[in-house]
Symmetry: C2
């Protein structure tokens, strides 16, 4: 049995880039950028008016203003640049407009009164220029979004403004989620006393959807021959297989044997952690398939998926994933033999987390109350109140 750091290192050693593809901007959220994004012009692209008002010529900001400025015309946003013809006149200007040639300062409407084509100034000195200088945010050619960044909605406006109607993103791996376990039936079936409906594959499927991955769902019965026949096909067909169940010590936990028969290279089986200890991970060299075989309990499966698969995915397609940290809200006894992922709730007042009481890794319903999992490393001594630990959000 290895510890979680070693297990994570082995998982990350299998990181894999699946090439790039172009998608329309409107489909890019949640994908990983496969190109650096640079500004294609200065930002702002011109000296931009920051307030609605009048634009005047005022070489030194400390010079006193004239009492009034006759209005030559209006510089609207979206109109070509105008030119101030007489330096004692002004042009009305609108927020977002290009600053007229021959002017350098904007006096906001709040500080002027306009009567019969003349602007009467209520202040003696200009407050500031109110001009957003060309290139002052970033000159043309500035790197604004880095290859590997996961694209969030706020990035979409940036991509739009630099003209990326299509964006180069990392291709996602093809992926199958495979449930095993003869006690499992479909959601819309009526269970007999000893049966339960499938749930893990749906949790995984929904979580993958948020990463832009449309996974296929498969079920294979607990029969070594059938498993071997079916998995032989799936190993060749998909980049990644996620399995739930069939890796514990049970009589019908055939997966480790089947994988061996199929020529899959095991990297580890069992990790010193709770829940999720029986996690099995390996890869098929010839077909370049990565295989994450999670134990069957719902919380075990989900924790392993969020911790190992998600970090593998981020490392493969983009930049690495940094966990937030949260303060533990109460002291807890140490656990020298196993790292623990504890279900926690978030106190929004003080930002600390408190362990949720639930019935162990089989308690699927606890996931509804959980804000996420706090990772408590193996340790002899106590986990102290107020100490910070990595926090894995499930939202």
């Amino acid at each position: 049995m290895i510890n979680i750091q070693k297990a994570l290192d082995l998982v990350l050693s299998q990181k894999q880039f699946y090439g790039a593809e172009e998608v329309p901007l409107t489909e890019a959220v949640g994908r990983f950028l496969a190109e650096d994004i640079f500004t294609d012009r200065d930002a702002p692209p011109f000296d931009r008016v920051m307030m609605d008002g009048i634009a005047i010529q005022l070489k030194d900001l400390n010079d006193p203003l004239r009492p009034n400025y006759p209005i030559q015309g209006i510089q609207a946003a979206g109109a070509p640049q105008m030119t101030l013809k007489a330096p004692d006149h002004c042009l009305e200007v609108m927020t977002g407009a290009i600053l007229p040639q021959g002017t350098d300062t904007v006096i906001p409407y709040e500080e002027v009164e306009i009567k019969e084509g003349t602007a009467y100034v209520k202040i003696e000195k200009a407050i500031k220029r109110f001009v957003h200088g060309q290139g002052s945010d970033s000159p043309k050619g500035t790197l604004v979004l880095q290859k590997g960044k996961k694209i969030h909605p706020g990035d979409i406006g940036i991509l739009a403004t630099v003209g990326k109607s299509r964006v180069e993103v990392a291709k996602v791996p093809t992926l199958a989620i495979i449930s095993t376990g003869d006690e499992l039936i479909e959601i819309d079936e009526k269970p007999l006393a000893h049966q339960i409906r499938k749930s893990n594959v749906y949790n995984l499927w929904a979580s993958l959807l948020q990463e832009g991955i449309h996974a296929e769902r498969h079920h294979i019965i607990d029969d070594q021959k059938v498993l071997q026949t079916q998995l032989k096909i799936l190993v060749q067909k998909f980049d990644v297989l996620l399995l739930s169940g069939g890796v514990s010590m049970g009589k019908f936990d055939y997966l480790p044997t089947v994988f061996e028969n199929l020529g899959v290279q095991k990297l580890f089986h069992r990790v010193a952690q709770r829940p999720g200890k029986p996690f099995w991970f390996g890869y098929h060299e010839e077909f370049n398939t990565k295989i994450f075989a999670y134990p069957g309990n719902p919380v075990s499966t989900y924790v392993n998926h969020l911790f190992y698969f998600k970090q593998w995915l981020y490392a493969s397609l983009g930049n690495s994933w940094t966990f937030e940290t949260k303060e533990l809200g109460e002291e807890m006894p140490g656990c020298p033999n196993l790292a623990r992922f504890i279900s926690v709730n978030l106190n929004s007042e003080n930002g600390r987390v408190l362990p949720l009481n639930h019935n162990g890794s089989g308690d699927l319903f606890s996931l509804a109350q959980t804000a996420g999992f706090l990772l408590l490393p193996q340790r002899e001594g106590v986990y102290r109140k107020g100490e910070r630990f990595s926090f894995i959000t499930i939202r």
Copy 2:
């Protein structure tokens, strides 16, 4: 000018439920539940075996174990319940199986050795029962997900397990995003010197997509007559209009006038906040249309959207939205006249946030670096280092 609390109260006073609809489970992530979800059976539905091993009869857990138990057979997961025929025998049992009739305790494989049809026990006393009792997580009829909850991937497994292949969720409002401003051109166009490409509408569109809303995008030129004609149609057609630009003090900021002409009830215009001060909000009584008119600057638009619209949406369709809080990483001077939304970065080591330096609300590119916005309320005194404030994430 009103303060943000008053503005928020007015926005939330317009909350609106748009009815419920049934969607397949696989389309339910991110939607708001419109029904309470109860368990349809006990959880677990039967006394469930927690470890692979042997099941025996052991009335008192403190009683010594027999040195060996002849094996009667195997109780697999997914098989109907078996019955132990002789109390000095055992049945092999698999994790997830129903506990055989006549047994009450599981001895894990780790603690036994199996030779020629008999299990030889290596320990003198049972460690624990290793039985997950029927109904011990939650008895049948337990409320497991509450109406109004936003469905996250972890909830999907719960819905699956209680048999919800279709789920009742809140309908989302129909929504149009309208850009104004003659300086704006399409993403795939080449801008002239005084033009810029649209960006706000794409930020908003992408953000709405994450809430399950497929918004229409419209652009209307800065012409009062055209605005009035077009908006008249849109006000009747959509539940919600989001506008960007056209609400400041400029000559071509016709929106407040146009809305008045169209019989839209203004609830406020201008809020004591930075950025986003010129925010305008109202509704059309007859057509029951809510109108969020954001100022044109990218950061202003986005902050107002995340703060006001998102809270309105959550209040309308589901449970209210609670902000996380974060500690400010450095002291900052107070701001008595305006509440401030400051762009911040997150220090994952200590969980504190630090303000990002950027060029004000026009600096779209700053959104790429921002983790979110910290809401600093109006205050005479300083904002103290280590003090907690509401944090609005943009991830």
